[in-house]
């Protein structure tokens, strides 16, 4: 208050504090406004974070399934994180077809071995979500069209996937996603 009265009285008087000529009031002003600013920004953390997946959603984020009962040539649809998951046991012919293709010539170069687990080269686990715009491709259930390459076919915009779930023809940019998973025993798989 002493500062205001003195400056109001004679306009030219500038009250300084410290040898570098910084006014104490300026310092307090900047410090106070900065503290409020930092506090305001910190407040955004909970306001933004609350929209992320909640604890109950994250608790459902891994799926366990038994692949032992799936016969060669057969596929099952499971649910992983509220999205379809294709689990397919390839026949020897399908494995051969997949391996016969030169991976480097593909849009998204990957070999079948890179897309399966060692010792389980015939178990192909992919998301049942077309990498184009997210439709569910056909080919997992019996009697469905498997596309020109014998794997999966997406009816929305005509993407063809081969027996390793790799994109071969159509608009999809990448192969069907292989989720993170591991074999917890010879037949049981934990996805996620």
């Amino acid at each position: 208050m002493a500062e205001t009265t003195s400056t109001a009285g004679t306009d030219t008087t500038v009250v300084t504090d410290g040898e570098d000529g910084v006014r104490r009031r300026d310092f307090i002003n900047i410090a106070a406004v900065s503290a409020a600013g930092v506090g305001g920004v910190a407040t955004l953390i909970p306001l933004v974070s609350q929209m992320s997946p909640s604890a109950d959603v994250l608790a459902e984020s891994s799926t366990e399934l038994d692949v032992g009962a799936i016969e060669p040539g057969q596929a099952v649809k499971a649910v992983f994180r509220k999205q379809p998951l294709f689990v397919r046991r390839l026949t020897a012919k399908e494995v051969e077809e997949a391996n016969a293709t030169d991976a480097s010539s593909l849009r998204d170069p990957q070999t079948l071995a890179e897309r399966t687990k060692e010792g389980h080269g015939d178990v192909l686990i992919t998301m049942g979500v077309c990498t184009h715009l997210g439709c569910v491709p056909l080919g997992a259930a019996e009697g469905e069209i498997k596309g020109e390459f014998g794997g999966y076919f997406c009816p929305c915009h005509g993407s063809h996937y081969d027996t390793a779930g790799r994109i071969r023809k159509g608009p999809a940019p990448t192969n069907l996603e292989v989720p993170e998973y591991e074999f917890t025993s010879d037949t049981v798989v934990q996805v996620g």
């Binding site: 109001a8 953390i45 909970p46 306001l47 974070s49 609350q50 909640s54 604890a55 109950d56 959603v57």
Partner: protein, 430 residues
């Protein structure tokens, strides 16, 4: 706005000048809460509570919109989704505690804002319209607070809804059908919960609209001040910014400290444990009470235990409870004293504090069980409440001899020396 010496908005930045030409929104803000609004230089901290109330509304709207993202207004799952918010949603506990305690702090701030108005007679001409709009805002807040308390669908929610809608059942002839219509059933259920949610979402925005009118009306005569003497010259005022933005900012900091102390360390102190039990239409909690901010009016409701001539006790209680607030609408015309500030009204000031004591008693009794001796005290306190407004205020304003008022705000601040006043006037006016 209305003072000729108010500073004009003159943007130096080219972009702001362009913007201001097309849409004078920066100008509006500048004239409302910026340097363009001259405010009495002598406002004390009781003048902080309007800004604090506005801030509370912002807290409530932000946290409320977030809660609505995670809550489902369905009687089957409402309680479960509330617990989902508490346990699963990231910072959900913070959002809900901030919202629940935010309501309490909103009311605390509003009560102090209203009592400030009582003491300094802020309701008097030329500010009657501000006061009337303020009472409307208070009623909207009470409705919103009640509707929101029902949403978690706990025991207190359910029985609160039942009791409050039951008030309408007291109205003769149309009461029962009206109550059934309000609830969309014979007891609170899914239909009631859904419409309460819808209205609880709507009313804060209606309130925001009325607040804009409240502030608009305020800016016509300008803010009142602790002396109650109107602004005469420029030396009576300082620009809102930076003087009152700083003062309000400091008050806001203190408010936030207390508010977050409650949110983080006593989040359920103002709540009721029974509301963590899911609504059960077949079992009433032993002691049902509304939230603390309704207690004074709840005490008035329960004070009427015997029929009053031909009016049944139940209806009388309801009428008294609503009248206790509606009476504020005619307060500007009950208090005829030309002096505004309680500082210069010795007799009025005594009765102001007696009213505060009476409301504190009603507040205590509203939270107490409905048994003797509390009921008798409620009756006495209720009688005094109405006596204060309808009899004491008009009589005091007629017989009281007020103390001499200062000539101006400047004189009140700088002392009675006329030369000093004129000297400063001369130097500031240049």
């Amino acid at each position: 706005m209305s003072f000729p010496w108010a500073q004009q908005y003159t943007p130096t930045n080219g972009l702001m000048r362009y913007f201001d030409e097309k849409l004078p929104l920066p100008r509006l803000v500048y004239n409302a809460v910026g340097a363009g609004y001259p405010v009495p230089r002598n406002l004390n901290y009781l003048w902080n509570f309007g800004v604090l109330a506005g801030f509370c509304l912002v807290i409530q709207i932000v946290t409320g919109i977030i809660l609505a993202m995670h809550y489902a207004a369905n009687a089957e799952v409402a309680f479960a989704t509330t617990e989902h918010i508490m346990r699963n949603v990231n910072y959900g506990w913070l959002m809900r505690y901030a919202h629940a305690n935010g309501a309490s702090f909103f009311f605390a701030v509003i009560y102090l804002h209203i009592f400030r108005g009582f003491y300094y007679s802020s309701y008097k001409a030329p500010r009657e319209m501000i006061w009337l709009l303020g009472v409307v805002i208070f009623l909207l807040l009470m409705a919103t607070g009640f509707l929101g308390y029902v949403l978690p669908w706990g025991q207190m929610s359910f029985w609160g809804a039942k009791v409050i809608t039951g008030l309408f059942g007291a109205i003769p002839i149309v009461g029962e059908p009206l109550q059934v219509w309000l609830l969309g059933g014979f007891a609170p259920d899914n239909a009631a919960l859904n419409r309460f949610f819808s209205l609880h979402f709507l009313l804060p925005f209606v309130t925001a609209g009325v607040i804009i009118l409240h502030i608009w009306a305020l800016h016509i005569p300008g803010s009142s001040n602790p002396t109650g003497v109107e602004i005469k010259t420029e030396s009576d005022t300082v620009p809102f910014h930076p003087y009152y933005t700083a003062k309000d900012g400091f008050g806001l900091g203190v408010f936030l400290l207390i508010y977050f102390a409650m949110v983080f360390f006593l989040p359920n102190y103002l709540g009721h444990p029974d509301n963590y039990i899911e609504a059960n239409p077949l079992s009433t909690p032993a002691h049902i009470v509304p939230e603390w901010y309704f207690w004074p009016f709840y005490a008035i409701l329960r004070a009427f235990t015997a029929d009053f001539f031909f009016i049944p006790a139940k209806l009388m209680g309801v009428l008294a409870m609503f009248s206790a607030i509606l009476i504020w609408f005619i307060l500007p015309w009950l208090d005829k004293s030309p002096v505004r500030s309680g500082n210069y009204r010795p007799l009025f000031r005594i009765f102001f504090w007696i009213l505060m004591f009476d409301m504190a008693v009603l507040f205590y009794l509203g939270g107490a069980p409905a048994e003797e001796p509390f009921v008798m005290f409620s009756q006495l306190a209720t009688a005094y409440y109405f006596l204060h407004f309808l009899v004491i205020i008009p009589i005091v304003s007629m017989v009281e001899k007020p103390k001499p008022l200062p000539y101006s705000i400047t004189e009140a601040v700088l002392g009675s020396d006329k030369e000093a006043v004129l000297g400063e006037n001369a130097s500031v006016a240049k």
